[in-house]
Amino acid sequence: MKGEGTNIFQRWVIVSCLILVSFFIFPSPLYAEAQADCGAHDTPSDGGGSITIFWSDSADLIPAHVDTLTVYRRAVGDSDWDRLAETTTREKLFLDNNTIDGIAYEYRLEAKDSVSGTQFRVGSVTSSPQWFNANRTVVLVGVLACLAVLAGVMYIQRSGKSFYVRPIRGLEAVDEAVGRATEMGKSVLFTPGWGGDIQRPTTIAALNILRYVATKTAEYRCDLYFPTHDPVIMAAAEEVIHEAYIEQGQADIYNADNVFYTTSSQLGYAAAVDGLITRYKPAAVFLLGTFEGEALILAETGNSVGAMQVAGTDSTIQLSFFMVACDYTLIGEELFAASGYLTKDSKILASVKVQDYLKVIIVTLLVVGAIMATFGSSVLSDWLGQT
């Protein structure tokens, strides 16, 4: 098993390195051809149907006082030229976005005014779609770096190393909050906010915490309410809570009616959850997920009924409201670490550790970029800025 892990890791690293190196070795075609005075080529990194025509301001091509350039096109073999467009000579680039892939075209460019003029031809050239968008190389490098770090950390985890995650008070408080609700004979309310949908990693992170909370409410036989604004989240939450109750051998007390859809409207949802808090006065309120304008309304209402509140969101502006109105707040990435932290699953903990290593890489790039920018070099920022 260990040997297999080593092989997978080695392959990952080799493939990642080869791809990275290849981007530096092979320059982009646009750059290479731009050295010529004029020409045409298939537009790089596109889905086909486009040819790029370029020219320089060399006096041989365009008289100094001429500003208008007319572009004509014909398919190779045709005798007639079609007038495509009029552009300015200063542009130095014209994109013909109406080509049919596979057909060879040639172009005639006329630069003239009432006094004098020149014309030149470029092509023939054929457009075709590309499989890879070279403009997104930097993002690909970033993703490969993430995967490489993840593979490395997973490999280390397989060798038996355990990872330390600092205590997160908000997560430590989950047991306390559910226990308090049970002692008071009151319910627990969990809501994932109005801003998210099931595709959002924040919602996935919230559902992971929900599973732990549901395990505890099942264990203590305490009522758990889950109002949401999204029917898909409702279906996923039903499944998560039901499974947690089955796992605890408490399927008989699981109440599907406590997991419900309110409305997709933001303030309608806020009013529904506010009403629920005011009527049922839960002893513990979990506001975990993507929250927007409704955050403070919910948190202040929870505060007014004396509930112990644990909140966490990826919305930076709402974090400040939660800090004031809630007992514990998970700040940004702490929410994503919750799954590993609560389940103690070594694989998930290892992936949480990946965040730390990636942060080191980003901070290093920031520092190097800042130093380079201070000394007038924008190489790194330009490279990172390509998307």
Binding site: N97, S265, Q266, L267, G293, S315, T316, I317, T387
Partner: protein
Amino acid sequence: MDLTRIDKRIIYLLLLLAVAIPLLTKLELPVNVGPQTEKVFEAIEEIPAGSHIIVSFDIEASSLPEVQPVAEAMIRHTFGRDLRIVGLALFSEGTAIGYNMLSSIAQEFGKEYGEHYIYLGFRPQYVSAILGMGEDINSVFPLDYMNDDWTEYPAFAKVRNYSDISLVLSIADGSLPTYWVEYAGSRYHQKIVTGLTAVMATSYYPYTESGQLVGMVGGLKGAAEYEKLLGYVGGGQRGMLAQSSGHLLIILVVCIANIAAWRKRR
């Protein structure tokens, strides 16, 4: 009376009075135009007349009193510049709001449906809709709000995807501008501006500073600034006194609480 523990109902009452009384007066405060509003104004000024822009009504009924002056000012500017508007909504509640707002301002400027603006209605799942429009707007919105084929209007027939759109203007009360930036901006290099509620405005400074958002018009203050640039008095400037007295009251109660706490400690 312990001023460190004022009954919150008293604070609520004071705030209600602080906001309501100025709304009954007609006093106007002078407004200075901030850099964010100016950037949006300049971005719209730079677009050649006849170009197409998307105005997305990413709002709900709840925030309408605050966002309406912002949206009206920006739409008035675009119609005034003879830009062609492709209106749409990514929140269901924004659908009727958007149509009514666009058509009434169009009427004010003598603009015709199909010639100067169209309204495509609502599509759910905003991420999919934003991404889909990057490939083909017609596939996301095959028909307009009136169930007509909008590509039959000659002025809009050539609008295929973001490459034919000069600017996206997201009228928002939540995080929708983030999705426009993440999906239309990063992926399709679409220029984006937003007009939104004041509470959400601070979230977008990282995007405006990095250039991912060209600029933003935030809340009543932003609306007042935009109205000043356009030279008319609207809901933004009329609301400035109420907003000012509300802010001053909050500063006052915070100061009272701190002075009381300090005296108590002594």
